[in-house]
Amino acid sequence: MLVAEILEKRLIRPPDVFYYRLHAPLVAAKAKPGQFVIIRIHEKGERIPLSLADINPSEGTISLIVMCVGKTTSELATLQEGERIRDVCGPLGNPTHIENVGRVVLAGGGFGVAPLYPIGRAFRDAGNRVVTIMGARSKGLLIYGKEMESVSHRVAVSTDDGSAGIKGIITDALESELRENGADLVMAVGPAPMMEAVCRKTASFGVRTIVSLNAVMVDGTGMCGGCRVRVAGETKFACMDGPDFDGSLVDWDLLIRRQKMYKAEEKESFEAWKKRHGF
């Protein structure tokens, strides 16, 4: 059984975004940027997919950046360094296709910045000029800035309230980057509406855009079909055919609708858990 010890845990954006470094040497030896793992905390837990925010084969570790949005992500946050996660399955999904295309723009919203760190490093190492654009509501909500700086030629920031970088939403910062420097490839990771907005923007510039789709998953191996998405009018399984797809071909309404399939149950489970734990 792949039980993984939490070697390091940090609150990187109060109150609810945590960084975890796990001991998982087999996964670390094999994983590539853009892939994810599915974890299950304990015997009664749900399987949830999480992107790899870093991969360190020589130390045998993988890192995750997780935002507490419901029961499982919040319960994960109650675990301490030295404690174990019962199941870690991966690496899953296809690695991001990395090649030297010239100028790459990475657009990250929310936890989406996490997978962009290893992806950015790989694009940079392949000889690309990498620009990262991070968006958040305000300065305090930005994460992973330093790490992204270390793999980017430039990091541009946008905040809704103007407390850091450009005042506005992420597509504003993206637009000025595309206007000024252009791009050969854009990679966007974040909440579905953010990725959709990015794709609409890049379409007007005619820049190819790759997105990483976060459909609801169970097994992550192509067995359940729960993660199905529509790309170019065809049904694809995000876990097996993705998670990366050409963003201009994605049926976003469908993805967003399917993400909400279990909303009522998720709420019930979270509320019950909070009550039990006195939150």
Binding site: C89, P91, M223, C224, G226, R257, Y262, E265, E266, E268
Partner: protein
């Protein structure tokens, strides 16, 4: 068989088995059939004629010595009945419950010509359950085989479904060091994630599998081959590999509305329920949705299991829609019977054409009636030569103007599965046919040292045929390793 029983007239009817009341059981996940008591088992076993030509044994894909074990039961020697079965079949508690006996052992039983066939499956289950009760910690560790020489090889088994665990078990008995790689966090393949608790309690699957670990087989869960390791890598570390990854990729129909919320594959529905225990949500974290009215598309075991699970999850009505007729229903006869008793409605000879919806959620299923035509001989020939479909079955054709609709807020698609490409995509040089691995009857593939069997070779079949394949492959692997050593 004792001479005593020969010439005696057997009772025409089989001893009935106690079952949970349909009205009660449709609301719980406990096992439907309660199994024979020792007295009932002895009585039923006494019906066996002990036929010298053993037609029942030829009906069993793994050749369980049926007359012998049945005779042992009728003598009250349950321990030796168990040992006799177990020598041929590693999972008697499972097979006794889920084999399609009517088309296998029982289908060939001499008694069946005039009377009820002997209840071989129930007797097999009785012996296995009896043994399990004797020893709390699960089934006995089988003795190593003294009749084979060699051993000492290292073998990787990919997938812990019936084919994989049987192969691992046989190899371990022959003295090889086996490591099983399983993608999920539980072992058993379809036995765990697919077949529901009320038909096959998971603790029985677990107990049968525990034996593997007792025999020194190493088990790696959460290990997706093709991702965590490639087949090529395994071949560097092991002398041989067996691939038993099943046919787990759910198929959809490609009709309008299949993307609506509330439409899901049987695999997802059953995996959430069985593997993730969503029927005990929120005690277990994984949710499941069952609407008031559920439609299930398909007519096999998977469709029956989905329909009956939906009832137990609280659906008010469950309708099963199948494009052929009653006779063609591929599910086990007992399951169809149980489903009917529990109140599942059947719309036979009906083909779904569209799933309708409102606000993004399914609300109904449009269908058209079908008539069954005689098979087109040419068509049957083509299908059978492709090796993946049964020849000679009647072909359904739509009847014009016969459209109708049923209300459904959950639609479960159980029209079959195809080969999962995760492993095969990463295996260079492995010859495939329509995604399935090409293998000879002994399981040899186009790659030296790589063997395969079960659903990944044949397409969706049965537990016992997957076990048979695992067993034959184990023998071939044993010979292969021996030939390389000499």
């Amino acid at each position: 068989m004792t001479d005593k029983s020969r010439g005696k007239k057997p009772a025409p009817r089989r001893v009935p088995v106690r079952e949970q009341d349909p009205r009660q059981r449709r609301l719980n996940f406990e096992e439907v059939s309660l199994g024979y008591t020792p007295e009932e088992a002895v009585l039923e076993a006494g019906r066996c004629l002990g036929c010298r030509n053993r037609p029942c044994v030829s009906g069993c894909p793994v050749g369980v010595p049926i007359p012998e074990f049945v005779a042992a039961i009728s003598r009250g020697d349950f321990a030796s009945a168990y040992e006799t079965i177990r020598n041929a079949n590693m999972l008697p508690a499972v097979c006794g419950r889920v084999c399609p006996q009517e088309s296998q052992c029982e289908g060939a039983c001499t008694l069946g010509k005039k009377h009820d066939a002997l209840a071989i499956g129930r007797l097999e289950r009785f012996a296995a359950d009896w043994r399990m009760r004797q020893r709390e910690s699960g089934p006995a560790k089988p003795a190593p085989r003294k009749d084979v020489s060699g051993g000492g090889g290292r073998v990787a088994v990919v997938g812990s479904g019936p084919s994989g665990i049987t192969c691992a078990y046989e190899l371990a008995r022959m003295g090889h060091k086996v490591t099983v790689f399983e993608a999920l966090h539980e072992l058993g393949g379809v036995l765990f994630y697919g077949i529901p608790e009320f038909r096959l309690p998971k603790k029985i699957v677990a107990a049968e599998i525990e034996t593997l670990e007792e025999m020194g087989v190493e088990i790696r869960r959460n290990a997706v081959i093709g991702k965590l390791h490639d087949l090529e890598e395994l071949m560097e570390k092991f002398d041989a590999a067996f691939v038993g990854t099943g046919a787990g990729l759910p198929r959809f129909m490609g009709i309008p509305g299949e993307d609506l919320n509330g439409v899901l594959s049987a695999n997802e529905f059953l995996t959430r329920t069985n593997l993730m225990r969503a029927y005990r949500f929120p005690e277990y974290d994984t949710p499941i949705k069952t609407g008031r009215r559920v439609a299930v598309i398909g007519g096999g075991n998977v469709a029956m299991d989905s329909a009956r699970t939906a009832l137990r999850l609280g659906a008010e009505s469950v309708t099963l829609v199948y494009r052929r007729g009653e006779e063609e229903l591929p599910a086990r006869a007992e399951e169809v019977h149980h489903a009917r008793e529990e109140g599942v409605l059947f719309e036979l000879c009906s083909l779904p054409t569209e799933i309708t919806g409102e606000d993004g959620w399914a609300n109904g299923l449009k269908c058209i009636r079908m008539e069954l035509c005689e098979p087109d001989p040419l068509d049957a020939y083509e299908k059978s030569s492709s090796g993946l479909s049964r020849p000679g079955r009647k072909i359904p054709k739509p009847i014009e103007g016969s459209g109708f609709a049923i209300g459904a807020d959950t639609v479960i698609v159980a029209i079959g599965t195809s080969a999962n490409p995760l492993l095969t995509r990463s295996a260079q040089g492995l010859r495939l046919r329509r995604g399935y691995i090409e293998a000879d009857p002994a399981g040899r593939t186009s790659l030296e040292g790589v063997f395969a069997g079960g659903d990944i070779v044949t397409g969706s079949a049965t537990v016992i045929s997957a076990m048979g394949a695992g067993r034959r492959a184990a023998r071939a692997i044993h010979e292969y390793i021996a030939s390389r050593k000499s």
